[in-house]
């Protein structure tokens, strides 16, 4: 991870060894944050597995905050999906008996 920007509000993170899998889902979670004015990601070159992830915040909130919140929210989503999925599988297999 490398960060680089003019002030704390507009930061471009360079995420190594990542592609659309994390890029798009993280972008979605960060966009859902009302403090974020702009969020986008791009793949610098298809031969390199590296993405530029840019966050611009409204006001004076440091851009690292929505990034961190986005990651935590995404983890929360995955955890809930995993729990729901496993519960449904258990219900289905026990209902079969």
């Amino acid at each position: 991870v490398q960060a680089d920007g003019t002030d704390g509000n507009c930061v471009t993170f360079v995420l190594h060894d990542e592609d659309h899998t994390l890029g798009n889902s993280l972008r979605y979670m960060v966009m859902k944050n009302p403090d974020v004015e702009f969020c986008g990601y791009c793949i610098t070159h298809p031969s390199e597995s590296k993405i530029n992830f840019r966050i611009q915040t409204r006001g004076t909130l440091p851009a690292v905050e929505p990034f961190r919140k986005g990651l935590t929210d995404l983890m929360g989503v995955c955890q809930h999906v995993l729990n729901t999925f496993e519960v449904r599988l258990l219900l289905k297999s026990s209902a079969a008996f």
Binding site: V1, L22, K32, V81, L82
Partner: protein, 355 residues
């Protein structure tokens, strides 16, 4: 609180609702493709991320679970995350596959490299979670990251075959090399680590090569743990795909001949014809079965009677495993891998000070 709205306002609200949660298939293109429900886009809608609201709206329904195939629905999630799961299932769930083939003797007509390529593609029934990744630059392989298989087979002539027979099955022994001829050779203390395990290819009847008398194959194979991103042989799914739930609405009542024609335009079971007061009336019975061939748009009289759309946040996943791991385990692993990626960046954020 539901505020009473005027008719025009209701129509406008229906329009935005449609834009928000349906992807509409028009005659010449698809509209409303991108998710637009981000905070600030629609006044009056609460779009900021709320874990509790997500959990209330989210559900998973397992539709069909047969050996190797799992079909389940995920409702209430966005395309970005559903696609992330699909991409991880295809490319980032690790498996074991043959990586290095040590050829001691190969006098068959299958070239060494072709034989090695074919051996690499054979799915090996070994739980990848029991193994580690091989370290970079490690040529030998230790018992915690490598599985060794041997394929040693020689074709010979059958002395008891009838003189005039031309059936190779009768004339020769071992002329077809199947994956069942691959045997596991335990390395180091693997017999103690895996006492009841029986590592072998998933299917016994994969034809590897054909031989004739005098030809033999004697190879030693090393299997390592890898991911589909590196080589497609490591992909644990035959395929994993999703589609959005179709949503077909009849804009006007359709009767008689038009109803019959409409029924033929869709996949069987989607439109059913009911007899109401002597007239045949069409009704959408089960939109889920449709494959959206857009046949309706080819008929002038029918194309304005229906609206073809898809529900934006209802994903019908279909995961078909190659047999290494059951598909429900694969989905759980994929979700855990996405969590692992997030955790990795959270740890980096916390450890590296941002300037």
């Amino acid at each position: 609180l539901p505020v009473p709205l005027s008719v025009a306002a209701m129509a406008a609200k229906r329009g935005t609702d449609e834009m928000r949660d349906r992807v509409v298939l028009g005659e010449f293109g698809v509209r409303n493709v991108h998710t637009t429900d981000f905070p600030g886009n629609y006044p009056g809608y609460e779009d900021a991320w709320d874990q509790r609201r997500f959990e209330e709206a989210f559900r998973v329904d397992v539709i069909r679970e047969e050996e190797g195939v799992l079909e389940f629905d995920m409702v209430g999630i966005d395309a970005a995350i559903a696609n992330a799961f699909r991409r991880i299932l295809l490319a980032e769930v690790p498996t074991m596959a043959v990586e290095k083939v040590f050829v001691y003797n190969n006098t068959s007509i299958v070239q060494d490299e072709i034989l090695a390529h074919r051996l690499g593609l054979i799915p090996i029934k070994a739980d990848p979670r029991l193994f580690e990744y091989r370290n970079q630059g490690d040529e030998e392989g230790t018992e915690i990251d490598t599985l060794q298989f041997q394929l040693k087979i020689k074709c010979s002539r059958n002395p008891q075959a009838a003189k005039e027979s031309s059936d190779p099955n009768e004339l020769y022994f071992n002329h077809k090399v199947y994956s069942k001829h691959m045997t596991w050779v335990p390395l180091g203390n693997q017999t103690d680590l895996f006492p009841e395990a029986d590592f072998r290819p998933v299917h016994d009847d994969i034809l590897i090569a054909l031989l004739r008398p005098g030809q033999e194959i004697d190879v030693l194979m090393h299997c390592v743990k890898g991911v589909g991103k590196d080589h497609a042989k490591f992909s644990p799914v035959a395929t994993a795909s999703y589609r959005l739930l179709p949503d077909i609405t009849l804009l006007q009542p359709v009767e008689d001949e038009a109803a019959e024609k409409l029924q033929k335009c869709f996949s069987p079971g989607v439109i059913e014809i009911q007899n109401i007061k002597g007239k045949k009336v069409a009704r959408v019975a089960n939109a889920r079965l449709d494959t959206f061939s857009r046949e309706v748009f080819r008929h002038e009289g029918l194309k304005n009677l229906v609206r073809l759309a898809r529900v934006r946040n209802h994903y019908i996943f279909s995961v078909e495993s190659t047999g290494i791991l059951p598909p429900d385990v694969l989905v759980s692993e994929a979700i855990k891998i996405l969590m692992g990626k997030c955790q990795r960046f959270l740890n980096e954020l916390d450890s590296v000070p941002m300037e």
